[in-house]
Amino acid sequence: MSETALTHTDTTVAPPMGMLAELTHRCPLQCPYCSNPVELERRSDELDTAAWQRVLREASRLGVLQVHLSGGEPAARPDLVELVETCAHEGLYSNLITAGVSITPERLAALDAAGLDHVQLSFQGASDEVTEHVSGMRGAFEKKCAFAGEVKALGLPLTLNVVIHRANIHQIDEFIDLALALGAERLELAHAQYYGWALHNRSALMPRRADVMTALRAVEAAQARLKGRLAIDSVVPDYYAHGPKPCMNGWGRQTINITPSGLGLPCHAAQTIPGLEFWNVRERGLADIWYHSPAFNAFRGTDFLPDTCQSCDRRDIDHGGCRCQALMMTGDARQMDPICQYSPWHDEVQTLTLEEAGRDEPFAYRRFARTARQA
């Protein structure tokens, strides 16, 4: 593969701004809402260091400005420092998305010296008990707090990221206090998105409406109170919304995802849509994947959307919402997102939400399948 893959630039398609580099699916935690696919990719299939470095160089040439080093747990890769160095060398802004339970202070210092720009640290609970219950790992909370302290001691900017669901929605105020105590500049409170493991666990994760409303009020109050001290980004839970979110800001418009084994995806859940052809960075240049792969071109633009969207003034804002969710609930990825109040499936979604929020199910923790799966 040549690195000068940018031989043809389609003038109607803009280059990507961001790349999500899923370096590995390995992770010491087992969050039941993990966005990784249920069928996790194995270590033996992961791209090697040279391949990732080539991808980063191609990304920079293609127009990517920010790289999110993610996973799984990206620190499970022994070459993480090298990859951060390559980002810095290419002028790419590097964001480390970590669970913060496995990076030693020495390694963090090496990442800092290599030019790391920002750390996004996940918290599963605002207390020891909830963290252990959600992550499946004993002692994780304490490790995360210590890690946050080490990040701040180096002067690196820190964002706390929390996925909100039924088992931690009562801790909103505690998460805010935690972010302040740890010296984070930003706090992201994102309600679980139901793909991958989260879909598998939907009836254990779905919060009740009253709790969602209480949480939203708590967030709004804190946003006003802490303006200028702590930036709080909150992602409203989809199933309780009237209009869909502009998923990925549009399919193949701004972001490219690379899986541990090198597949180029328009969104991390794109593999749930059958019939899409994904190209691999082992065989194709990144620019070729972005501009020409069938998966990226499948839902670019808005032409494929139903008539209701075509005559709707939100068409160029939400792009009809999420393709994966449309498929999941209507059986057709070209439908409008059923979260939309105009969707024929909207009522069904609401009913299902209420039903599942009323159930009490245990978590199925994220794990590698022990043996190859039989259908």
Partner: protein
């Protein structure tokens, strides 16, 4: 934290915010945690003077020398830009 800016205030980019040229799309951008700000030509001209050393008055003087515009107007534009960027957490006052 919307502190009043005056002629002696000195600004800098906080850690985790970088300005760079964006060759693919043309123009300049500020890269920040989870966000990208595209700068227009004027904002870029102002930001090239933000170095953690020059005061607001010095920046306004430098711009007044480069651009054919009234100094008071330049000062208002510079302060408006600084306030907007401070509010978004991508610019800070040196202490």
């Amino acid at each position: 934290m919307n502190q009043a800016l005056n002629d002696n205030t000195v600004m800098r980019l906080p850690r985790g915010v970088r300005m760079r040229h964006d060759a693919a799309r043309g123009g300049w951008v500020l890269l920040a945690p989870e966000r990208i700000f595209q700068l227009d030509a004027i904002a870029h001209a102002v930001m090239t003077n933000v170095d953690g050393k020059q005061s607001v008055a010095q920046i306004v003087d430098a711009l007044a020398a480069d651009f054919d515009a009234e100094r008071g107007q330049i000062r208002r534009d510079v302060l408006a830009l600084f306030h907007a960027l401070i509010d978004r957490g991508v610019l800070e006052v040196t202490t």
